[in-house]
């Protein structure tokens, strides 16, 4: 196997996107995604069974398209990587069974990969970030770990992952060997909160883009919505951190928005939807960016990577930019096609594991819908 620039095929099926990507080392060759998003619109959220059915039908066509786009044959591939968790159990199962069959049929090693860590790996594929993230000596910034060849490019960084399925702050010591969860949502994912509030406001699914657009015409300070898990009893102090210092909660906020809408209606008034959208969005993104920056500062992290579909939100980018800039943290935002769920990020992480000489997972593993980030790949 080529361990300097391995040719890796990655398969992703943890939510509603069937993704197949192909990379050579850190070079992106193909990134094909088939989404079942349209089928979930009328339900106002991802329906796991519908997503699983769509994965089954999309898998082989997506694989074929990725091989065509990359211009490579299966025989040339060095290894297969597949998301084994976290994610929707039934959806993961389709990708895992397909990937195992592919590995056996083509006689290739298989890596069972953590979806959240793969989001971090996506950054390796964006050349426009590569230049700034490699080997700059700024005292604590991302460092080349010394063995060259792109290894360790994502060393000692923070990652803020925000999507319809997850909301996490990670500390990435080394993408192949040392990833730690600093904080995460204790209830809804941020993207899920956007979807639910969009429905309350009569907007379409997915809620993120709809609220982002409407919020531009509203006043983010019009209504004071709660900031979840920000009071001292949860935050504690740097010396004595509280139980949820870097964690998020959005279910109380969602209830507050519902109350607010009902209050206007009970008074016979039309709710000011633009102001509500702007104020809600500000409440979510204020906490997310503040806690991400706090986590970075308290963990000696000077580069923060943004990932997940909510990275498309214009206000998130703006706030993250302002707040990281103010304290001298470098912000990396990969292009959107690499931020949303995709197979290329899975392949990118697979390539890092191969380059590190980490052993493949075999084909006897089970998908794990709550796979912890400490498990970068299954052994």
């Amino acid at each position: 196997m080529n361990r300097t620039e391995p040719l890796i095929l990655g398969i992703e099926s943890s939510c509603d996107e069937t993704g197949v990507g192909i990379v050579r080392g850190t070079q992106l060759l193909a990134n094909v995604v088939s989404s079942s998003m349209e089928e979930h619109i009328r339900f106002g959220g991802v329906i796991p069974e519908i997503a699983s059915r769509a994965h089954l039908d999309a898998m082989v066509p997506t694989l074929r398209a990725a091989l065509d786009a990359a211009g490579v044959s299966l025989a040339e591939i060095d290894a297969i990587a597949v998301t084994s968790g976290p994610g929707l159990a039934g959806a993961l199962m389709v990708g895992v069974c397909a990937a195992k069959a592919l590995a056996v049929a083509a006689g290739k090693p298989l890596y069972a990969i953590n979806h959240l860590v793969a989001h971090v790996g996506a950054a390796l594929l964006d050349e426009s970030l590569g230049a700034v993230s490699v080997g700059e000596d700024d005292g604590g910034g991302p460092q080349e770990v010394g063995d060259g060849g792109g290894l360790g490019r994502l060393a000692n960084i923070g990652a803020l992952l925000v999507s319809g399925g997850h909301t996490e702050i990670l500390r990435v010591g080394s993408i192949a060997e040392d990833v730690e969860m600093l904080g995460s949502t204790i209830d809804d994912a941020a993207g899920e909160a956007f979807d639910k509030v969009a429905r309350l406001l009569g907007l379409n699914y997915p809620g993120g883009p709809a609220i982002d657009a409407l919020a531009k015409t509203g006043n983010p300070r019009a209504i004071k919505f709660p900031r979840g898990l920000t009071v001292p009893k949860y935050m504690g102090t740097p010396a004595e951190p509280g139980p949820h210092r870097y964690d998020f909660s959005f279910s109380g906020l969602k209830t507050a928005v519902a109350r607010c809408v009902e209050l206007f209606e009970a008074q016979g008034q039309q709710p000011p939807v633009a102001d509500i959208a702007a104020s809600f969005q500000e409440a979510v993104l204020d906490v997310i960016t503040a806690k991400a920056v706090l986590a970075c500062r308290e963990n000696g992290i000077t580069t923060l990577l943004l990932g997940g579909g909510v990275a498309a939100n214009s206000r998130l980018r703006e706030l993250a930019d302002q707040r990281t800039r103010a304290v001298g943290i470098r912000l990396l935002v990969p292009r959107l096609s690499l931020c949303t769920d995709n197979g290329a990020m899975v392949a990118a992480l697979g390539a890092q594991l191969v380059m590190r000489g980490i052993l493949p997972s075999g084909i006897a593993f089970a998908p794990d819908s709550s796979m912890p980030v400490s498990s970068i790949s299954l052994r």
């Binding site: 519908i50 059915r53 082989v60 389709v94 069974c97 195992k100 049929a105 083509a106 209606e265």
Partner: protein, 236 residues
């Protein structure tokens, strides 16, 4: 002809079937040359592909020499059912071997028919196959004495089945309801499940005759449980 058969409609199983063409007055025949099957119905994602691999010396080398892959298309619990079809579709794509679907209850009907040819007391007329559909229901179908599908597959409560002999794990699970309906539940098949071995033999018999099989689309029989949300209740 060498056929790889896979079924995950209940248990996870796989089998290699070799057919022998008719010659010198001997009828065409088919035999199971290797098989794998689980006991349980919930570990498909872990064990299925290793089980398939175990049927070969070197799967990547021998796979392309297959003449056909057949897969049970259910009905069966969705997640398990998909694991077999996902694997079968991928093997078919990589090895460039044609893929066919077979209704999974046909596999059990094939077994019943074989057993009946050895034991004439087992059944003499039409019969039903029933498997566990969970949620207090069964997947079922009605067959002729020669195992030709007459009706189904359906999903529904055992208490709504026609009064005929019922074979399969679905019959064992709901024995009392079925007996109350006037069905019989032969003990020998009261916990039987569709297997890839039987599915492959059944498919081989059809393929040898040049009969067409099904596409590999799963027979879910039930919609996803998703409900389109109604309009939000206003506080007015």
């Amino acid at each position: 002809m060498l056929i790889l058969s896979i079924d995950t409609s209940a248990i996870a199983s796989a089998a290699l079937i070799r057919t022998v063409p008719a010659s010198y007055g001997a009828k065409a025949s088919a035999a199971v040359v290797g098989s794998f099957a689980t006991e349980d119905t919930r570990s498909h994602a872990e064990v299925l592909v290793p089980g398939i691999e175990s049927l070969f010396g070197d799967a990547a080398v021998e796979g392309p020499a297959l003449d056909a892959i057949v897969v049970g298309v259910g009905p069966g619990p969705f997640t398990g059912l998909r694991s077999g079809i996902a694997a079968a579709r991928m093997l078919s794509f990589v090895w460039e071997v044609p893929l066919h679907g077979v209704m999974s209850l046909d596999a059990l009907a094939w077994d019943v028919c074989g057993a009946a040819s050895r034991d004439r007391n087992l059944m003499g007329g039409e019969f039903l196959i029933a498997t566990d559909a969970r949620r207090k229901e069964v997947y079922w179908a009605r067959y002729s004495p020669g195992a030709t599908l007459l009706e189904g597959p359906h999903v529904g409560p055992a208490a709504e089945l026609p009064a005929l002999p019922v074979f399969g794990a679905g019959a064992g699970l709901y024995r009392d309801e079925l007996l109350a309906r006037g069905c019989t539940v032969p003990d020998a098949f009261a916990d039987a499940q569709p297997t890839a071995a039987a599915l492959g033999l059944r498919a081989a018999a059809l393929l040898v005759c040049g009969d067409r099989l099904l596409p590999s689309a799963p027979l879910y029989l039930r919609e996803s449980d998703a409900k389109v949300p109604g309009p939000r209740k206003r506080a007015l």
